[in-house]
Structure formats: structure tokens, C-alpha cells
């Protein structure tokens, strides 16, 4: 009996200690700030048309959520961007939305804001620099864009078991190039069809270079069943080359990404078959949603499009072809 009561006492003491230990950190987390009080700072790398839609979407969503919103443009200067982030941290912004001037500066950017969480947009830092609940990326998955292109090609050439593909890529090291290209290749591979990459080279997003490369390809005399470009600009170069060589672009599916005005125009003209719209305002909305959620709950896992590891929130691309191009034409 005595032994038993002793044991009970020991167990209860230990339980008390364990509870105490468990209880202490439990007090730490609490949503201190109200939804309306969230202060968001948008650090832009450099303004362009796409980013304007991104910033506008973010501002709009912030206003709707009742959050404070401020934006500054680093105008392509890493130093200026770091400066702006330090200032934002000093001014007690709760969260930073940042489109980095260079993704290689991610560590420096994180250091500049101290404990403040960062939502990266537009260009994605390496995965290892992201951290759940602290440093996340909101954007569109480049692979999805590539996959959309491949799916279009597959549907267009559905009757063929074997076809030749020309791939005009962006700069080799660019994440968009890698993502979009792998997206294309994987989907095509998974289709089980015989796909020959009869030409695959980088034109560095450049129309003229793309035109030059495609003309060079044409010289090889190999036939192409489709031309998949990592962006619309290069697709325009390909179209130019076709025109110069008397090739009817409407018979050769040329695909781009971005749904630029020129791209949409080309689609409407029937020269370009397909492009993918990256929703700037959608990314802006998602970035603000994720930012607020990050401040309030420390996690973006319940935000639509978030990945399982909680480091990414993917915003869907949108397919653009002749059937819906009018919605994207400005």
C-alpha cells in the first residue's frame, strides 16, 4: 500500500512538472493584432506592366481587408531595396511583400527586416531560403505554365503519335525557363507519345534572337509540328521568322507565355495559337491574403493554393487562346 501511494505521489509530481513545462510556451502564441491593424509593406523591385497589376491587386485586396498598405519601388537597386526593407522593419510593419531585385539576395533581405515575415512575389528565391510561416512565396508555378502549353499541343496534335517540337527557351539559369521547360517536357513525356525535340535553344526572352534561332532551325530542313516558347516575346520572333520564310503561322502552332498585348494580338490574328496568362492582380490578392494570414496565424496552410510544406501559395495561370483572348486584350 505504501509503495503504491509513493508511486502515485511520484507520478503526480512528475505530471505536474511536465504540465508546467508544457504550459509555459503555450502562453506565448496569441493573435495580438486585429485584422484591421495589419501593416503591409510592398517592396517592389522595379515597376513594369505586369508588376503594376500585381501592386494594384495587392492594394485593392489590402483595402478590402482593412489592412494598411504601403509600396516602394527599389527601381532595380539591391541597395535601395535593402534600405527600404530596413526602414519598413523600423516602422513596425507587420509583414513585407517583396519582389526581390535579385533572388540571390534573399538572405540579406531576411536579415534586413529582422523578425518580420516576408511574402516573396514575382521571383522565387531558392527553396532553401523559404521557411514555413515566415518566408513564403506567392506566385504562379512556372511548371504549370509549361504544362498548359504541353496540354494545348497534345490536344492540337491529338491524332499524332509522333511529332517534332521546337523549344525556344529563356536564359538557361532563369527559374521561369527551367520551370516552364520542365513543365512542357514532363507533360509531353507523360503522354507517352514519341516527342522529338528537333530544336531546343535559349533565346534569352529576346524576340530577335528567337527569330534568328528559328530561321537557323528552318535551315536544317527538319520539320516542326509546334513551337513552344518560354514567353510571348520569343514566340513573336518565331512568327517573324515564319513570315520571313513564307511559313503560315496558322498551320504551325506557336505557343508563348504571359499573354502580353502583342501576344494577345497575335492570337487574335491567328498567328499565335496559345499563351498563358499570369494573373498579376490574382498574385497581388493572394500575396495580401497570405501576408495577413501569416501575421494572424503564423501559417498560410489554409490559404487557397498553398502547398503542403506551407512555403508556397500558388496562384493559377490562365489559358489564353483564340476562344478567350478578348478577355485579356487591353
Amino acid at each position: 500500500m505504501r509503495g503504491k501511494s509513493c508511486m502515485k505521489r511520484y507520478i503526480s509530481v512528475w505530471l505536474a512538472i511536465v504540465l508546467l513545462i508544457c504550459a509555459v510556451p503555450g502562453c506565448g502564441q496569441s493573435a495580438a493584432r486585429g485584422r484591421g491593424g495589419v501593416k503591409i509593406f510592398f517592396a517592389l523591385n522595379q515597376m513594369d506592366t505586369f508588376r503594376q497589376t500585381l501592386v494594384d491587386g495587392a492594394a485593392e485586396q489590402a483595402a478590402q481587408a482593412g489592412a494598411q498598405f504601403a509600396m516602394e519601388d527599389a527601381q532595380g537597386s539591391i541597395e535601395r531595396q535593402v534600405e527600404q526593407l530596413k526602414k519598413a522593419a523600423a516602422e513596425n510593419y507587420d509583414v513585407i511583400i517583396c519582389s526581390p531585385v535579385s533572388v540571390d539576395t534573399a538572405v540579406q533581405l531576411k536579415m534586413s527586416v529582422g523578425d518580420v515575415p516576408i511574402v516573396f512575389v514575382n521571383s522565387c528565391p531558392d527553396e532553401k531560403y523559404l521557411q514555413e510561416g515566415k518566408y513564403i512565396y506567392v506566385g504562379s508555378s512556372e511548371q504549370v505554365a509549361g504544362a498548359f502549353q504541353a496540354e494545348y499541343v497534345l490536344s492540337k496534335l491529338s491524332g499524332r503519335q509522333e511529332f517534332n517540337v521546337v523549344l525556344i527557351k529563356g536564359p538557361a539559369s532563369h527559374s521561369a525557363t527551367v520551370g516552364r521547360t520542365s513543365g512542357v517536357k514532363r507533360v509531353l513525356e507523360e503522354s507517352g507519345k514519341q516527342v522529338h525535340y528537333v530544336f531546343e535553344d535559349s533565346a534569352g526572352w529576346d524576340t530577335a534572337q528567337a527569330q534568328k534561332l528559328f530561321e537557323l532551325f528552318l535551315k536544317t530542313g527538319v520539320s516542326a509540328d509546334c513551337v513552344i516558347c518560354n514567353n510571348d516575346a520569343m514566340a513573336l520572333g518565331v512568327m517573324e521568322a515564319c513570315r520571313n520564310n513564307g511559313i503560315d503561322c496558322s498551320t504551325l502552332p506557336i505557343l508563348g507565355v504571359d499573354a502580353t498585348a502583342d501576344g494577345c494580338e497575335a492570337i487574335r490574328n491567328g498567328e499565335m495559337a496559345f499563351t498563358v496568362y499570369q494573373s498579376g492582380s490574382g498574385q497581388g490578392h493572394a500575396a495580401v491574403d497570405a501576408a495577413i494570414r501569416l501575421v494572424e496565424t503564423g501559417s498560410v496552410k489554409d490559404v487557397e493554393g498553398s502547398t503542403e510544406d506551407g512555403r508556397y501559395v500558388w496562384v493559377d495561370f490562365e489559358r489564353v487562346d483564340s476562344s478567350n483572348v478578348s478577355q485579356y486584350d487591353q
Binding site: 539559369s173 527551367v178 530544336f199 535553344d201 537557323l216 535551315k219 536544317t220
Partner: protein
């Protein structure tokens, strides 16, 4: 017995029994938790290390590829820009032969017509360059890119960097350079940062092994490998799943080489990683074990030191339990045990004093009980003696009483005898008076004899007769005196007895003793007188006899003895005087006898009283005897009580003696 005497388990054992398991459990938990934490940490660390290793390798490989590709592009660009052909082009190609170890054959160019331009020294041959891997793949790009691995015409496993040479020659030309897979393998394996990690390069498009530390595997296909590990890796690579993962007990990391379809695979056996953890665990277990042992020793020591005073205390208390209060407790520590020791020490002192007092008291008690016993014995003895004495006294008093009774009887008898004696004395007196009268008449007769001497003859007869009668009377006197003498003797004896009895009667008999003495003296005097009388009577008798004879002679010699008759007359006179004296004496004696009678009567009366007193004395003495008997029995019970008291005192002493309290307390 066994149930009563609980098994004694020392505090030390108890504490150790409690603390050690707890500590062991805690240690085990600690070791377990630390093991898992450190396992995680080491795993994470290893992952990071492998990550960084593979990243670095990737960078190195990319840099190496970039370097070579850049060199090739530079050559290609210069050819394109200069539009070099013929000798000029040959010179350029010749200048790159042996220029770099990585591509010893330099660059070479093939055209769509199957023409091959190469460095002069190059041994490269190609039956139909347009059908070669490098040519066909080179046709798909302008920027020089890497082909898949293939075996060239010389039988070497190579990859080529090839691309369309846009030299405005009007012909499609492809420029290319070969990089051997052995060289790539060396590059791959040279940049492994992590100890005991392995790496190999594989094409993600078809699973061809491009570089491997085992050269035999180079250019084989992963999917066809007999090694399950390699097949599993291909499984992942073919699905473009490049997350780090544990495959077949190997931590495996994947990295894509930029600008190529290549995937660098780096792996390290988990047992290598966990060997560190195991050594950490073993170290922790050892430390834990040592800690437990140290703790056990420490606890044992501490408890030993802490409970040492308790042990001493136990000794002291045990000694105390056995009655030994001579023990001392050392001044203890300043903790609870110390306080306890202090109080026990105080208790011992108090007990010692108390026992000492009890000792003293019990000693005294013993002594007193002894004394009391002795006294009670003595008292008993005394009272017994007294009882005896009293009984003896009682007997004596009884005898006395009897004696007094006898005395009274004797006195009565004496009084009667004396009365008789008085009567006899009176008779003697009358006889004496008769004798006197006779003597007078004899004197007268003698005087007549004297006067009538002549008539003597005639009267002698008569005289003779008278003398005879005197003789007869003398004889009677003699008889009487004898009787008186007897009486006197008896009286004397009586008085003696009375004296004796009086003496026995003590004070009470003192007066009586005087009387008895007087009576004795009187009796003596009477006896003397009787003797005298007897002597006188004898003398008378002899004188009478002489007288008779002389008378006869006188009768015969009357004539001769007229003088004699005169003498006789004188003699006769003295006889007469003597008789007179006797008579006086007799009267005196009678008076005395009367006194004796009186006294004897008194004696009798006193004796009666005495007897009565004696009875009372006897009664008193008997009650005294009873009381003494009571006293004796009381004193006996007192004695018994005293004995019991003594016994109790001794017992008490024995009990108290069991407590040892040393000399200090004064025992």
C-alpha cells in the same frame, strides 16, 4: 517473534531504492530523448551536409561545364564572326588540339554532306558524321549544348558539346567537342564534400549513368541495373522527384545540373550517419551509467554521513533500552538529527538524575527496610522474651499467690498454734506460779527444815517425797519446754518461710518480712529461753537429784550439814529467783506469743489480701501476657511486613541497579 520483529531496512537502502530507479528512469529518458533529439539533429545536420555537398558538387560540375562550354562557344563565335574557312578554320581547330585536358581532341566540325573538319593531329574518325549522335543533337541548337552519353567511333564513352555553326557558309555545319565520361566522373567524385558520401551523375531523360565511381556502371542504364538501390533511384528521377529521401538505407540527395538533363545523385549510408549517433548514444549511456553510479555513491555517502548520528543515536537508545544511561551523545550536526540528539542527551541527563535519586531513595529505603526489619525482629524477640518473662512472671505470681495462700494458711495455723502456745504458756505460767508457790512452800519447809532440823529426819521422808514430786514436775516442765522449743522451732521455720515469701512478694511483702523477722527472732529467743529452761531444769533435775542425794546424805548427815541446809536454802532462793525469772520470761514469752498471735492474725489477714492482690496481679499478668502475645504476633506481622519491605526495597534496588548511570551522578 518473526512477525513482531520487523525486518530492519536501513534508510540508506530505502533512499537508494527510491532514488536510483527514479534516476535510472530519468537518465534513460534523458538518454532516450537526447538520443532522438541528437538523432534528429545529426540527421538534419547530415542532410544539410549532404545538401550542401551535392550543391557544391553541382556548382562545381556546372562551373566545369560552363567553363568548357564557354570556351567552345568562344571558339564557335570566333569562327562564325570571322567566317573562317579552309586553312584559317583548320588553323583554329589545330590550335585547340591538346589545348585543354578536358577535350584533348579539341573541336571538330561536320557538315551536312558528311565532311569532317578536325584538328590535324586528331585521330578522330567518323564514317558518316551526319549520323553521329553529336551531329544529330547538335542540329537541334545553335548554342552549344551537351549530348547524351554515347560511345564514339574510337570506343570511348563520351558526351559531346555540339551546336549548329552558323558561319554563313551556306551549309549546315555542326561544331562539336568531346568530353570523356571518365573525366566527368573524376570531376564528379572530386567534389564530394561529405565524408563517405558517394555521388554519380545520371541523365534524367533515359537514366544513363554518366559518371560513377564504379567505371563499369558508366553509360549503363539505371532502369536496367541489377542493383535495387539504383533502380529505386531511377524510379525517383524518372518522376522528377528530387527531394532528399532515404532509399535502401541510404540518405539520397538529388540535384539537377543546370543547362542539362543531368541529375547528380549523392548518397550516404544511414549507418554511417547513425554510427555517430550510436557513439553519442553509447557515450550518453556511459555517462548516464557513470552518473548513476556516482549518484549512488554520492547518495550512499551523503546518507551515510547524514544518518551516522542517527546510528549513534540508535546505539545510545538501544543502550538506554537496556538500562545503560552512561552513554554520551556527541554534539551533533545543526540539523533535525542534531536537535534530536540534543534532546536525547537532555533526556539521558534527566533520566540519570532521576535514576540516581531513585537509587538513593531505594538505598535509603533498603536501609530503612533493613533497619525496620532488624528492629521488628528485635521487637519481636523482645516481645517474645517479654511474653516468656510475663508467662514466667505469671507463673511466679501464681506461685506467689499460692505461696501467699499458703502463708495465709500458715499464718492462720500459726495464729492458732500461737493461741495454743499462749494457752500453754498461761498453763506454764500457772504451773510456774504453782512452782513458785511450791518453791515457797518448799522454802518455808526448808526454813522449817532449817528450823527444825531435828524434825528433818522425820520430814526427810516427806522431803524426799516432795523432791520426787519436784523431779516429777521438772520432768513435766521439761516436757512442756520441749513442746515450746518445738513450737519456737516451728515458728522460727515459719518466720523463715514467711521472710522468704515476703522477699518474693517484693515491696508488698516488705512489712510482712519485718514481722516474719520479728517472729523469727521471737521464736529464736523462745527457743533460747526454752534451752535455758531445759538447761535449768536439767540443772534443777540434777540439783534435785543432788539434793535428794544430799538430802539423803544430809538426812544422814543432817547433823553434819546444817550449813549445808543453809546453803541449800540460799540455793533454794536462787532457784526461786530463777523460777521467778522463768516465770517472767514465760509471761514475757506469752506476751510475745500474743503479739505473734496478733501478728500472725495480721499476717493471715494481710496474706488473704495478698492472695487477693496476687489473684489480681495474676489476672493482670495474664492479660499482660495476652497483650504481649498480641504484641508478639503484631511484631511478627510487623517483622513480616519489614521483611516484605526489605524484599521490595531489594527488588527496587535491583531494578534500579539495572540502570547504569556512571559515576558522575554520584552512585
Amino acid at each position: 517473534m518473526k512477525e513482531n520483529q520487523k525486518k530492519i531496512i536501513s534508510i540508506k537502502v530505502k533512499l537508494l531504492a527510491i532514488i536510483l530507479p527514479v534516476v535510472i528512469v530519468i537518465m534513460s529518458l534523458l538518454v532516450g530523448v537526447l538520443y532522438y533529439i541528437s538523432k534528429d539533429i545529426i540527421k538534419e545536420y547530415s542532410e544539410n551536409l549532404l545538401d550542401s555537398s551535392i550543391e557544391n558538387q553541382t556548382n562545381q560540375i556546372e562551373a566545369w561545364l560552363d567553363e568548357n562550354l564557354s570556351a567552345f562557344r568562344a571558339v564557335k563565335q570566333s569562327i562564325e564572326q570571322t567566317g573562317a574557312s579552309g586553312q584559317q578554320l583548320q588553323a583554329i581547330l589545330d590550335s585547340y588540339y591538346g589545348f585543354d585536358d578536358d577535350y584533348p581532341n579539341g573541336l571538330y566540325i561536320a557538315d551536312e554532306n558528311g565532311g569532317l573538319i578536325k584538328a590535324s593531329a586528331s585521330e578522330k574518325t567518323e564514317a558518316d558524321p551526319t549520323q553521329s549522335v553529336w551531329y544529330r543533337e547538335g542540329l537541334t541548337r545553335w548554342n552549344m549544348g551537351l549530348t547524351n552519353a554515347y560511345t564514339n567511333a574510337e570506343g570511348a564513352k563520351v558526351i559531346s558539346a555540339s551546336g549548329i555553326l552558323d558561319d554563313q557558309s551556306g551549309m549546315i555545319r555542326v561544331i562539336s567537342a568531346d568530353l570523356t565520361l571518365e573525366r566527368i566522373s573524376i570531376i564528379v567524385n572530386s567534389y564530394i564534400e561529405m565524408d563517405q558520401a558517394r555521388a554519380f551523375l545520371v541523365s534524367s531523360t533515359d537514366g544513363t549513368v554518366l559518371a560513377h565511381h564504379d567505371n563499369g556502371l558508366i553509360s549503363t542504364k539505371l532502369s536496367e541495373s541489377r542493383d535495387a538501390f539504383l533502380r529505386d533511384i531511377w524510379q525517383k528521377v524518372s518522376q522528377y522527384d528530387f527531394d532528399m529521401v532515404e532509399i535502401d538505407s541510404n540518405m539520397t540527395a538529388f540535384s539537377q545540373i543546370q543547362g542539362t538533363d543531368w541529375v547528380l545523385v549523392s548518397y550516404i549510408p544511414t549507418k554511417v550517419i547513425y554510427s555517430d549517433i550510436d557513439s553519442v548514444r553509447n557515450m550518453m549511456l556511459a555517462i548516464g551509467l557513470v552518473s548513476v553510479i556516482l549518484l549512488a555513491v554520492l547518495v550512499e555517502r551523503v546518507v551515510h554521513v547524514v544518518i551516522r548520528p542517527v546510528k549513534e543515536l540508535i546505539k545510545v537508545i538501544t543502550a538506554m533500552t537496556n538500562g545503560d544511561f552512561t552513554v554520551e551523545i556527541k554534539a551533533g550536526s545543526n540539523d533535525e538529527i542534531g536537535v534530536m540528539s540534543g534532546y536525547v542527551q537532555q533526556f539521558i541527563r534527566t533520566m540519570r538524575q532521576m535514576i540516581a535519586s531513585i537509587h538513593t531513595v531505594s538505598d535509603k529505603l533498603g536501609e530503612q527496610a533493613g533497619d525496620s526489619d532488624k528492629i521488628s525482629r528485635e521487637m519481636y524477640e523482645a516481645s517474645r522474651l517479654q511474653g516468656q518473662s510475663m508467662r514466667e512472671l505469671n507463673t511466679t505470681v501464681e506461685q506467689l499467690s499460692m505461696s501467699v495462700g499458703e502463708i495465709a494458711n500458715h499464718a492462720t495455723t500459726l495464729a492458732m498454734v500461737v493461741a495454743d502456745t499462749k494457752d500453754d504458756g498461761e498453763q506454764v505460767d500457772s504451773k510456774m506460779q504453782e512452782t513458785v508457790a511450791v518453791s515457797r512452800s518448799g522454802q518455808e519447809d526448808l526454813q522449817r527444815v532449817n528450823s527444825a532440823m531435828e524434825l528433818i529426819n522425820v520430814s526427810v521422808q516427806k522431803l524426799q517425797q516432795s523432791i520426787d514430786e519436784v523431779g516429777k514436775a521438772s520432768k513435766e516442765i521439761t516436757n512442756i519446754t520441749e513442746i515450746i522449743g518445738n513450737i519456737a522451732d516451728q515458728t522460727s521455720l515459719l518466720s523463715l518461710n514467711a521472710s522468704i515469701e515476703a522477699a518474693r512478694a517484693g515491696d508488698a511483702g516488705r512489712g510482712f518480712a519485718v514481722v516474719a523477722t520479728e517472729i523469727g527472732q521471737l521464736a529464736n529467743t523462745s527457743a533460747d529461753a526454752v534451752h535455758n529452761i531445759e538447761g535449768l531444769i536439767s540443772q534443777i533435775n540434777s540439783l534435785v537429784g543432788d539434793t535428794v542425794k544430799q538430802t539423803k546424805e544430809s538426812v544422814e548427815n543432817i547433823s553434819h550439814s546444817n550449813s549445808l541446809v543453809g546453803d541449800t536454802l540460799r540455793t533454794f532462793d536462787s532457784i526461786f529467783g530463777n523460777i521467778d525469772q522463768v516465770g517472767t520470761l514465760v509471761r514475757e514469752m506469752i506476751r510475745k506469743v500474743e503479739k505473734v498471735d496478733e501478728v500472725a492474725t495480721n499476717v493471715a489477714a494481710i496474706s488473704e489480701e495478698q492472695a487477693a492482690s496476687s489473684e489480681e496481679i495474676l489476672a493482670t499478668s495474664e492479660s499482660m501476657v495476652r497483650q504481649v502475645d498480641n504484641i508478639t504476633s503484631n511484631s511478627e506481622s510487623v517483622s513480616k511486613g519489614a521483611e516484605e519491605l526489605t524484599a521490595s526495597a531489594e527488588e527496587l534496588y535491583e531494578h534500579v541497579a539495572r540502570f547504569k548511570i556512571g559515576e558522575e551522578a554520584g552512585l
